[in-house]
């Protein structure tokens, strides 16, 4: 027990800098994990807004393609998606022959963020679409009675109401995205887990190396949960949200 505690101290002493932000040549660890998480979650959120509205459309030609996209990306493991984007696409001939595409897909960062973005987009669309469909009927009737246009109905009534109610489910999705970023190291992106693997390879202190990574991820999870709770308490106050 004491021995393993000392191992933790050794790892933290030697590797605190790469674990937090800098591995000597580039950004690494916590900074990288948070950066790819933020980028993909923010982009995913923005894209999910119009796509979830398309997803609930009665017109099959509009909702069909969105449904297909989310079916494919929710039905396959994230690791397979990342492999396809990072290892697969670069090998295609037309990508090798197009300099623009080639420079994009040869970068691990681009591929990881693209894969995370597409993955979270698929889940977020389904979450938002579910709550849009569950908008209380009276709210829509009232909006129609006021003579609101479709655009106004969506921007003033449906989306503000649906997005608030979606918060608990969406916070879950963000935590799952944080967990998904741990695969970034397979595309050579130096995130927290990559640093842990380096530490393990150099010191053979397996439990302490991965344990330190686990503690870091755990802290981020707790901070995210805490932050979302606060936002929920404010945004859902009108539902008399009695969680605490």
């Amino acid at each position: 027990m004491i021995e393993s505690f000392e191992n933790f101290l050794t790892i933290i002493n030697e590797y605190w800098e790469p674990f937090l932000y800098w591995d000597g040549t580039q950004f690494s660890g916590l900074a990288v994990t948070l950066w790819i998480l933020t980028l993909s979650v923010v982009l995913g959120f923005v894209l999910a807004l119009p796509l979830s509205v398309m997803r609930v459309s009665k017109n099959k030609f509009i909702s069909g393609p969105v449904w297909f996209f989310s079916w494919v990306f929710r039905g396959t493991p994230f690791y397979v998606q990342l492999l396809l984007i990072y290892s697969g696409i670069v090998g295609l001939e037309f990508v090798r022959d197009t300099p623009l595409l080639y420079t994009f897909f040869i970068s691990g960062y681009n591929c990881v963020v693209l894969a995370l973005l597409l993955n979270t987009l698929a889940y977020t669309i389904e979450i938002f679409a579910g709550y849009i469909k569950a908008t209380p009927y009276g709210e829509l009737d009232a909006a129609r009675a006021y003579g609101m246009s479709r655009w106004k109905m969506y921007t003033r009534i449906i989306l503000p109401s649906a997005l608030r109610r979606a918060l608990p489910a969406y916070s879950n999705e963000v935590i799952l995205m944080l967990h998904a970023t741990s695969l970034a190291f397979t595309a050579t992106v130096p995130d927290i887990l990559k640093v842990a693997r380096d530490a393990n390879a150099a010191t053979y202190l397996t439990f302490a190396s991965y344990g330190t990574a686990a503690l870091l991820y755990m802290s981020i999870s707790f901070v995210l949960v805490w932050a979302f709770r606060r936002v929920e308490r404010r945004a859902l106050a009108f539902l008399a949200y009695e969680n605490n």
Binding site: T76, P77, Y79, S87, A196, T206, Y210, A214, F222
Partner: protein, 229 residues
């Protein structure tokens, strides 16, 4: 030639993935039931342990836990055999994988079961007691069967997540579907093709699972009135 002659290996990899997922499901299911029961009916010690288990496991990425547990099982075992002066025991990677994934998803199942236990109306349990049923009878005849119905959507969800999480075991060296297709892709320089095949197989597995789950939910909701809006 079809898939450059890798068809047989890919089939083997698929079977390995299914086997791994089903056995892990069994472990996770049992751990989940134990965890939920400890949280709801246990004394302070068991409650604390179960709470720590579900909170800690669910806040760490499954891949990190896999690396942590998978390698630690072997090292812990080595320490024990060393201390006892026994020869080294090689633990089978497949079994270690099953235990690892089962341990991780047990925490998710525990939360699902806990919610489902709480969804059974209290009045029904009191009615059971009023009929003179023992605690065990109330549990096995009223609480448990209804809990399973409430838990079904959550179980289905967890199963789909677990099935997809098995793709990670290739990173810890098991020869599952992803490992096989990756090897084939590298050997034939057609990664895109083979990874797409893996993706399609996963898509087929998850789609079939969804259909079966939809059917089960329908079957177990017989006699439950749906709210028609």
């Amino acid at each position: 030639m079809f898939l450059h002659g890798y068809g047989g290996q890919i089939l083997d990899g698929t079977l390995e993935t299914i086997k791994l997922a089903l056995l892990s499901l069994l472990v996770a299911f049992l751990l989940g039931l134990i965890g939920a029961s400890a949280k709801l009916f246990g004394n302070l010690l068991f409650k604390g342990i179960a709470q720590a288990y579900t909170t800690l496991v669910r806040s760490v990425p499954d891949l990190v836990l896999m690396l942590l547990i998978f390698f630690s099982i072997q090292m812990g075992l080595n320490n024990i055999t060393d201390a006892l002066g026994l020869p080294m025991l090689e633990i089978d990677p497949f079994i270690a994988g099953v235990l690892t994934i089962g341990f991780i998803y047990g925490a998710y199942f525990a939360e699902t079961f806990r919610g489902a236990f709480l969804a059974v109306p209290k009045g029904q349990l009191e009615a059971g007691k009023a009929f003179g049923m023992s605690d065990w009878q109330v549990f096995s005849r009223i609480l448990f069967p209804q809990m399973m119905r409430f838990a079904l959507p959550g179980i289905g969800n967890n199963w789909l997540v677990l099935l997809k999480a098995t793709a990670l075991v290739s990173i810890i060296g098991l020869s599952d579907l992803v490992q096989v297709t990756q090897t084939a892709g590298r050997a034939t320089a057609s990664m895109f093709l083979f990874i797409s095949v893996a993706g399609l197989i996963y898509l087929a597995l998850t789609t079939v699972s969804s259909i079966v789950l939809w059917w089960l939910e329908k079957k177990y909701s017989v006699g439950v009135r749906e709210a028609h809006l």
